[in-house]
């Protein structure tokens, strides 16, 4: 059940955002996936990880050609955090696909990268990324994320 009026609030009110926002974390690096998962869990987030953009889209029910009716997963996800540099589909391309989806376009997307490239960062922010974070992620980064998520609500 997604409200079409206050969509920001509706998106963030899925499930128990008060206690446990559900974050989808996308990264092709095994070590980084484990790290981001623990960082998020320590911040009381429920976490689903995906190893690439395609898997992420599959999880969200957004894969092209697979016309799926409301996918339960998409409704549960409160935020997506994705690495930028990934083979086949990079973080920017994933961001675009999410923003093209009427169901997911209002879900905050955070981009991470080990490289501080201003043009890359601006491109992502212009496409609607909520935030850009430099890797390696630290405990304080995720706390910022959490505060940001909380502030987004109504």
């Amino acid at each position: 059940m997604v409200s079409t009026c206050d969509s920001d609030f509706a998106n963030l009110n899925k499930g128990n955002v008060e206690e446990e926002p559900h974050v989808l974390a996308v990264d092709d690096n095994l070590v980084d996936r484990k790290l981001v998962e623990k960082l998020l869990k320590n911040s009381s987030c429920k976490v689903t990880t995906a190893e690439n953009g395609l898997r992420a889209l599959e999880y969200l029910g957004l894969l092209d050609g697979k016309k799926s009716s409301m996918n339960n997963n998409a409704l549960k996800v409160n935020m997506i955090i994705t690495d930028y540099c990934m083979p086949e589909m990079n973080g920017y391309e994933l961001l675009k696909k999410i923003k093209e989806s009427s169901l997911m376009k209002d879900v905050p997307v955070v981009i991470m990268s080990s490289e501080n490239v201003p043009t890359r960062i601006n491109k992502c922010l212009e496409e609607g990324a909520q935030m850009f974070m430099l890797k390696p992620l630290k405990c304080s980064d995720v706390k910022k994320l959490r505060c940001h998520l909380m502030q987004c609500r109504g």
Binding site: N29, L30, D32, K34, L35, N42, P136, K138
Partner: protein, 154 residues
């Protein structure tokens, strides 16, 4: 050996590793993430790093050994290794990867081969030191003691 002595040995050894640049603040971030819900977190991440790195180093060796070296593939592998070493705080490995990448960009085969040797060396060094550090940690825990916090290095 009693717990206090073990804890002191651990701190002394950790201090040396930080001072000599084998580890940086990111390793402390990992320690800070470990908690009762996941008391083996650091060991798990470090083990993943070892597995991942070994595979990447093998792939790099094979790729550099080809008649026609695929520098794009080399770059992709180095990117992964640089990423994971950075995420766990293996500073010298990360720096060796950065140097490697520069030679790869220049398509300098000889430079790449030298860098691969250097990265391998640094990896083996940090592997044995991390194993020793984590063994000390395990001894402390087995004796019922708390692992000293390394926050001053973060």
């Amino acid at each position: 050996m009693e717990v206090n002595q073990m804890q002191r040995s651990f701190l002394e050894y950790a201090t040396v590793l930080f001072r000599e640049g084998f580890l940086d603040g990111q390793f402390s971030q990992l320690q800070m993430l470990q908690d009762e819900s996941n008391p083996d977190f650091v060991v798990e991440v470090v083990s993943l790093f070892f597995e991942d790195s070994q595979k990447l180093l093998n792939d790099l060796t094979t790729t550099l050994d080809q008649q026609n070296v695929d520098f794009k593939k080399i770059d992709a592998h180095i990117h992964q290794l640089k990423g994971s070493s950075s995420s766990i705080g293996a500073q010298r490995v990360k720096n060796a990867c950065i140097a490697f990448r520069n030679f790869c960009d220049q398509q300098n085969l000889e430079g790449c081969m030298r860098c691969l040797q250097h990265v391998k060396q640094e990896y083996l060094l940090v592997k044995s030191k991390l194993e020793a550090l984590l063994r000390l940690e395990q001894q402390i825990v087995a004796a019922g003691g708390a692992i000293p916090v390394l926050s001053e290095f973060s």
